[in-house]
Symmetry: C2
Subunit: 171 residues, 2 copies
């Protein structure tokens, strides 16, 4: 897909089908994320975890429902893949780095026909339950940064117009 079309088509998907994501596509999405702008090229300060294991996803979903006090909640919108971007806790550019990685993954996923959504909310779960965060395998001293849920969208999404939707000033 053309780059600007992918950017215009990216939208937060909040309903996924059960269809699994092909490993080849997932590898491309993760690789695209890793090619994002990383401050001072400190690649070792970012750690990715790709979670497809159904048992772990079920555990994370159940823990989220319990934390939110909502037994009906569909955590991660039922996506079959969750990607965690953890960051070194003392990197002052950590938040920016993880956001760039996720944004690149969202665009690449859109390009590959996959539904996707940027999630910040799982940070609260992992911060409250360090034993769950440990399961993601990030090195000591890392903290949750951002997440992406990924899968096939239950509904088709529209292509937005390439027009500025933010307040802007030209000088």
């Amino acid at each position: 897909m053309e780059t600007l079309k992918a950017i215009c088509s990216r939208t937060s998907c909040r309903a996924f089908t059960d269809q699994p994501v092909e490993t080849e596509k997932l590898e491309k999405v993760v690789a695209a994320g890793s090619l994002a702008a990383i401050g001072r090229r400190q690649f070792e300060n970012v750690f990715l975890t790709v979670i497809r294991d159904r048992a772990l996803l079920d555990e994370l979903e159940a823990a989220t429902r319990e934390m939110r006090g909502n037994p009906e909640m569909k955590a991660f919108y039922g996506a079959p893949v969750l990607v965690s971007v953890a960051i070194k806790g003392d990197d002052f550019l950590g938040k920016e780095n993880c956001a760039c990685v996720v944004e690149n993954m969202l665009i690449a996923a859109t390009d590959l026909g996959l539904g996707n959504i940027y999630l910040h909310s799982p940070c609260a779960l992992f911060e409250k339950q360090p034993e769950l965060f440990k399961k993601l395998g990030a090195p000591e001293g890392f903290v949750p940064g951002a997440f992406m849920a990924l899968g096939y969208a239950a509904k088709e999404t529209e292509v937005r117009e390439l027009a500025c939707r933010l307040p802007a000033r030209w000088i």
Copy 2:
């Protein structure tokens, strides 16, 4: 350009020519940035300033050289355009939002054949000199978030391989 090729071609440009950027291309880059993932769709918490005015760029470059104590320094690598992404100071997702906007702009700029670089360093200048930050026109309560320098690259850049360069674990 195909999306994944643009992602693989994005690289930090540190030498720009004097060639001005066409307004039409610049508008597309800025629009692409505005279509990035913004937390809770609070678009009013992000403010863009597109700076092409040579007098203001000269003033910012001179102030940067003075702050760094380096009279030879080519601030913003001589780029003819600087885009500022300011964020509402009390938005806890502000840093992530501005990074997503800049990453989208970098990818779109690459797609359109423009050299580009993500800059965090101008934040220090604007934080130390609030009267300069005021010139960017962001509303009261906003702070510097991130910047992109943009123009035509002095050298051609290579297309990287679509392979993961970050530490990653698959579960």
